[in-house]
Point group: C2
Chain length 312, copies 2
């Protein structure tokens, strides 16, 4: 009989699950839909049922379950509201433990958990402390210190997408704030900068690589790779704003390395180069020379990080 561990990445549409060996190897992964009706009251029972069904074909015990959720989570595993799931305050850790009879249960915020996955098995391998930035539709963040997630006092630590990088600017963020890092450096933000009217540019959209396109962040980085001057200018602005933002994060958290993930990071080293240069130009002497890495686990970061919470 073997021991197994389960990592659960609970999202607004699907729940990703991973079964791991004692040694932390991913044995199998699968997904179930997230049933949000009835205030999300079916979600945890569905997860438990799915895990139990999966275990029918394995000879052994579950020694731990780790989960990531899309909302703030305290050190005690209490989820402080998840609009995406229909959840108010939920004692997710205790409920999952009680439904499964497994004592070793941990729950964390999804961005923090992804950071834990990347420092364990991804782009942050070998470091003791990282800040992970996820550049997707929004900008998420997760902070790992001494190998552990930093939740902060209310579970909102690491929300670096909402650093005000242009205080008082006209751009309004999803959080209702003005001038948040997310307004400029998310996939949406990069596209918006390229569409015009957000930042001042020397070159113009007209006649550029982007002319006539719908304009996505990918288009902007593709154009920059081909040497298009307008795209290069947008990428430089992206790099400046994210570099300054991460310099500000370093002034608070002083990690060993930054790991950059999410859709925008698929553009590759051009992202690292744009950010790293501007970071070093805008941080204190004592903070220069931090490592910058691309995330490596993609959509699996969540299940890896979730299970890492409960595997020693």
């Amino acid at each position: 009989m073997s021991n197994y561990y389960v990592g659960v990445d609970l999202g607004g549409t699907t729940v990703k699950l991973g079964l791991f060996s004692d040694e932390g190897d991913l044995l199998e992964k699968w997904e179930i839909p997230t049933r949000k009706e009835d205030n999300g009251s079916h979600i945890l029972p569905d997860i438990v049922e799915s895990i139990e069904g999966k275990m029918a074909s394995y000879d052994g015990h579950i020694k731990g379950i780790g989960m990531g959720v899309p909302g703030p989570v305290t050190d005690d595993g209490v989820v402080r509201g998840c609009v995406n799931l229909g959840w108010g305050n939920i004692e997710a850790k205790d409920e999952l433990a009680s439904l499964t009879g497994v004592g070793n249960v941990k729950v964390g915020n999804d961005a923090n958990v992804a950071a834990l996955g990347e420092i364990w098995k991804g782009g942050g391998r070998g470091f003791d402390s990282i800040v992970m930035v996820t550049l997707g539709t929004g900008v998420g963040g997760g902070i790992i210190q001494h190998g552990k997630i930093v939740n902060g006092s209310t579970g909102a630590a690491g929300e670096i997408g909402h650093i005000k990088i242009k205080p008082g600017a006209k751009e309004v963020c999803g959080c209702k704030g003005h001038g948040c890092l997310e307004c400029y450096t998310s996939a949406t933000g990069v596209a918006n900068m390229a569409k015009g009217g957000v930042i001042e540019t020397k070159n113009t959209l007209e006649g550029s690589y982007l002319e006539g396109k719908d304009i996505t962040a990918k288009d902007v980085f593709d154009g920059a790779k081909e040497g298009d001057a307008y795209c290069l200018e947008i990428v430089e602005n992206f790099g400046f704003l994210l570099g300054v933002g991460l310099a500000n994060v370093a002034s608070v958290a002083d990690p060993e390395a930054f790991v950059i993930g999410g859709g925008v990071s698929k553009a590759g080293n051009i992202v690292i180069e744009a950010v790293e240069k501007n970071y070093n130009d805008n941080c204190m002497e004592a903070l220069k020379g931090k490592q910058f890495r691309l995330a490596e686990l993609g959509n699996d970061a969540g299940i890896y990080g979730a299970v890492r919470q409960v595997i020693k």
Copy 2:
């Protein structure tokens, strides 16, 4: 025979020392000069000699020595250079332990140690996590999470004076960066804003409470308390920049409370009011409503925090 603990606040001009009881009560405090000659090699022996001299009149043993130093310190108690002391890299913790024969020795950065003092016996009492901001000639910061100092990977965590609050602005900081929080919200920064040419104002220095004065930060807050429109405008700008800066800090560290100390904080509640309002206007919903407190220990924060590192 009783047990005693010593707190050492090592500054560039004087070393402040405090002798504490087992219960954490300050029994006696005194100072010695900081001898910086010979690369600061006399500093630690002088401290040890002074402690031993003091103990001649006490019947008991020293059970622990904690020290704060004006430079970055790692979790291992290694000081990574202190220009003010003539020090390069110094294994301060191990040297102090070896010179005294006391095993329980801890060394921390002075701003971090002051934060630890304030959460123990000062304005941060009752909280589990705080960010302390010291508004003096410069702007220092210290972060306490779960009652412990956050040093970061190189001892530079909590350097919040060097957050770029106006990225790319013309104002140059002591750290050589442009647009650091310190440029506007230190005592010097507030005075510079009032002297003109730094920020746009509706009112003018001419005809204001400040006309004809040398202009210190204290003058600016005094004028604001008397209702002078120009001083009120400078205070509002100070509050906006520090409030946004602390909102950015909260997005990373999510503390329970902010404690504001240093010379500028002597202006009292007007400082808290200016900062708290702008903080709440510029942070995410999840981070609103943090507590803001004035520091209470003044120049003794250093010895209290230093000794707190070694008293349980």
